[in-house]
Amino acid sequence: MGTDLRALYRLMLRSRRFEEAVTQLWEAGKISGEMHLGVGEEAVVAGVVAHLRDGDAMALDHRGTPPLVMRGVDLSLLLKEFLGRTDGLCRGIGGHMHLFSAEHLAASSGIVGSSGPLAAGFALAAQYLHPGNVSVAFFGDGASNQGMLLESFNLASAWQLPLIFICKDNTWAITTQSLKVTGGNITDRARAFGLNAAEVDGSDVEAVSSTAGGMIERARDGDGPSFLLAHCPRLEGHYLGDPLRRANMLELAGPLMTAFIAQPGAPVAERAYSLGTLLSLVGKTTVDKNWRRHDPVDKARRKLQSQKAGLDTLEKEVEAEIRLALEMAILES
């Protein structure tokens, strides 16, 4: 797998186009449950996955689709799984939040923070059985307040595991702003555990690739674990159909006003503060649409265009690949 911008852009675009197809299937009512996309995280994932090789492991969170797409899991098997078919990647049992590919040593979980301990186990097995192989944990800023994740920082450091923690910081913990519920700084926490830590612009795939590549090499050489915090946009809310993005203030206004005047209750100032908090959250998700400016796929494309890289063929190839996977998945259903 190459790590030049063109190769990275291809990885990102495959993931983006794939998740666009998934969105259409979801909107058509063919996908059930909570569909969490990794749209906006592609540069973080591509910049890491591009450096992985056979035998390396990945522990994934509820946004497992992009890492699996980029790692080379069969796209039609993924789609069939999303459609709940018994010939899907996990026989229709796992679904999009619980994706597993033993041959890629890739496992996901819908339990926030659980990728840390799992990746530590993958790394321990690598250290013992296959020195030179590494393990990667993907998680978000929300997970960084989860005890088991912080404990695995310590474990990785104490045992000098070949493990790279990747924190995709999109500033949101479900529908809570992380800043409101997080003490201190996440990268400082990682450093305090003795991890080699860095922060990077997660919408810049070359920056991620360069930093993550160094961390992965370091782990392969037996020089211990690292932590990378990548700032990235959350372009599609917590999941498709995020209630915060659909919030209809006109509908909510009646009950909220009733609550605002109901007696007894908090002093008026506290009630006004609560109301303001809700309005600002809804406002923020609207304003967050400006995150589009930081769309990592667009950014990489602009850079390549300025290099007159001739993207037509690449993009057509990617689109054809996704279309074929979709046809295979739909035709057989």
Partner: protein, 335 residues
Amino acid sequence: MRTMSFAGAIEDALGQAMAADNRIIIFGEDVHGLRMNLFVRFGEKRVRPAPISESAFLGAAVGAAMAGLKPVVEIMLVDFLGVAMDALLNEAAKLEAFSGGKWKAPMVVRAACGGGYGDGGQHEQTLWGWLAHIPGLAVVAPSTPADAGALMLTALQHDGPVIYLEHKLLSSYWLEYLGSGGRTNVSYDIPAEGANGTVPDTWEPLPLGRAIMRREGSDITMVSIAVGVHRCLEAASALEKESVSAGVIDLRSIAPLDPNTICQAVAKSGRLLVVDEDYRDFGLSGEVAAILLEAGLTFKYGRVCTEGTIPYSRKLEDAALPNTSRIIEAARKLL
């Protein structure tokens, strides 16, 4: 009498209780949004969003309860209790015994539970049997709006830890958040009697551990809880057409269990069918049989439960959860 949704009843009862007792506080992930009306009425001091740190804030609820507050701590989905089990298993549940009965932790752990919308095996469990297994914990799961509000008051008035489970097929907002996401082209088998219903003008608590006969029947007694009760009622109506008289008991509380209501009914019918959305092995379905055997009853026995990991696929999921046709089939075998 008023008409309310299941979720509306819980919120209304909570509002009544919070207005009467300012020691009641709510905390958990996203509660500013999930409980936005209470958040506005009672302010952030009493409705407090928490980080995704279940073991810390559930443990903190135990301490807060021990020191004079009455927390309603929200764990979002009951599946996530796995992350934070120490607080319940070894702290809250043991306090009263360890302190020689001198110290108690009156707290409510509120969590959504249950499947039927294709969210997969980490988000659709019920786990009430697993929780009820632990001495020192009370576990309730209402099946109607009237019980939903009343049991919330029951839980708040209890002097120890109560797990209050809210089935997602009955609570429209959960189904909207986790299932449809605003789509109109997806559908769920929602029990109408459970999702909306009449409720009293002022909430009164039910006694803890009191089951209710939802339908009288002389040939067979079905015992269930939460959504399972509605599936049983549907099965009982279908069986009536075959001239089978099936009774349905709604347990409402798993711990403590109400042995008397079950014993009286099964003593008459001689047939027991337990319908449990929780896992079959080592759980509620076996426990109900054991209680009746201990009481010296002789009866025919069957059970319809969830037997393995709940599949994501809607079709496989429907077959895995106790559905009406599985219940009818199991009932016929006992006749």
